[in-house]
Symmetry: C2
Subunit: 283 residues, 2 copies
């Protein structure tokens, strides 16, 4: 795969570009994006070799779509329209159902592979791109059977070469589960940040008291609203369900406190402690 | 300060013992605790030099009380009863109002300094003790004026020698603010862990999808229920207030989603993004 076009040269697109270039020094990485300044930044950081436009994907062996999920839904059919018969298109979105749906009847559906690499940080843009980001990270592939076998093989070789662990899942299961282990965490973090900032307006000193525990729980509140608003919109029903369960659990905890039922509060925490074992290996 | 007695040789007591011993090689660190096995572990880890009992604090130059806050409230008057006139007693509890209250009329009140070092990890016990844990960390001191000047001076020299930044606050303000930047984070994390674990009962694969963002937001759910139940009990009113505000913010977010008001959701996140600047320097 010589000619690689990355649409969206931010955290995920940029990190993929870096690792792929390192493993395939002969490839040429082209960057495509709405903002010339972002592309210039990616060029300066040597994340991409050249700037390109959407028309150029006709020359692509591989197109990586790493833009907000609403933009992916809009753009993906057009990209498939433009590519050659042998090209592979992958996306990296945090939702999978709407993205798979929009191309389900596209004549080039078999050139597309839907994926979600579970990797990233709370930062965004080309400067957030990291070498080796995907080593040991899970990449969830949806509807693998809908991609032509030859392109599946190429894609998997590439993913394994940059260290990814592969898991297969259908788009609906992906969106349901990811709401729990990713989307809900972002909301809990944003609302925790909001609750404390609201307080802080009158109490500037409060953050002097914040330690690493607070920093850890609000880390995701630094995430990009441009990226996350469309994720919540596309995964609305699942996210609302997780949010309701979370609010119910918090309300129950509050009631236990109101009723001075500290034995029950102890047990709530004790029963959740085994998250330790579950999280082993995730850092 | 030669004879130093540490009551509770866990994460905080053990870390203080390590740093103090390093800065004062001539001191002798005595460990006191309910469980002989914990003391033996601390001895094996060279966190303490010798085991001791509560009766021995009569020989102390310094007593560090680093046990759950309910135990501190029970034990602190007895400790003050037993010490010599020149000894300093400090506690390290996450709540300050009840602890200050229980000794306010004690004849040896001036031998006590109430503090809360904002440092720690989600782990507990002697094996969780870390050298250098307090470097650059805030240590909040309450009611400093109630401690005799000579002992204040000794304490501050010691705290500064192990790298702490000192802040002064009254116990009520401490308990109110710490509810926001620490206690609420723990509840948000525990309930997030609970919400996901409840789901996981039927869906073992879900944690294969968890990334570093989830790990970060549930990190505090590994914390010790023995330590945290009494903290929530002592800071009940403040914690319930923060919890109500947090639940209201989450409920509002859910309503915005239900109403498809994604512009407002974008703004909720954008307005909270400046937590980036607030958290600079906290890791």
């Amino acid at each position: 795969m010589k000619n690689i076009y990355v649409i969206g040269v931010g955290l995920i697109g940029g990190s993929l570009a870096k690792d792929i270039k390192e493993k395939n020094p002969d490839s040429v990485i082209y960057g495509i994006g709405r903002n010339q300044s972002t592309l210039d930044e990616a060029l300066a950081l040597k994340i991409i070799d050249k700037k390109a436009t959407l028309e150029d994907v006709v020359n692509a062996d591989l197109v990586i779509v790493a833009i907000p999920v609403d933009a992916t839904v809009k753009l993906l059919p057009t990209i498939l329209d433009k590519i050659s018969d042998d090209a592979l298109v992958v996306d990296a979105g945090s939702t999978k159902a709407d993205i798979c749906k929009v191309v389900e009847n596209h004549p080039k559906r078999r050139n597309f592979l839907a994926m979600h690499p579970i990797a990233g940080t709370e930062y965004s843009g080309p400067s957030a791109a990291l070498s080796g980001l995907f080593i040991g990270k899970t990449n969830i592939i949806c509807e693998v059977e809908k991609t032509t076998f030859k392109l599946q093989e190429k894609a998997l070789d590439l993913f394994k070469s940059i260290g990814m662990r592969i898991r297969y899942m259908n788009p609906e299961a992906h969106d349901k589960h990811i709401a729990y282990v990713s989307h809900l965490s972002h909301i809990s973090s944003f609302m925790l940040g909001k609750t404390v900032i609201e307080k802080e307006r009158n109490e500037r000193d409060i953050f002097d008291m914040a330690g690493s525990g607070f920093a850890s729980t609000v880390r995701l509140a630094k995430s990009s609203p441009e990226m996350w608003t469309p994720i919540f919109r596309q995964n609305k029903d699942n996210v609302i369900e997780t949010l309701e369960e979370y609010i119910n659990n918090l309300t129950h905890f509050k009631e236990l406190m109101t009723n001075n039922d500290y034995d029950a509060i102890f047990n709530e925490m004790k029963n959740t402690n085994h998250i330790k074992d579950i999280l082993k290996g995730i850092s």
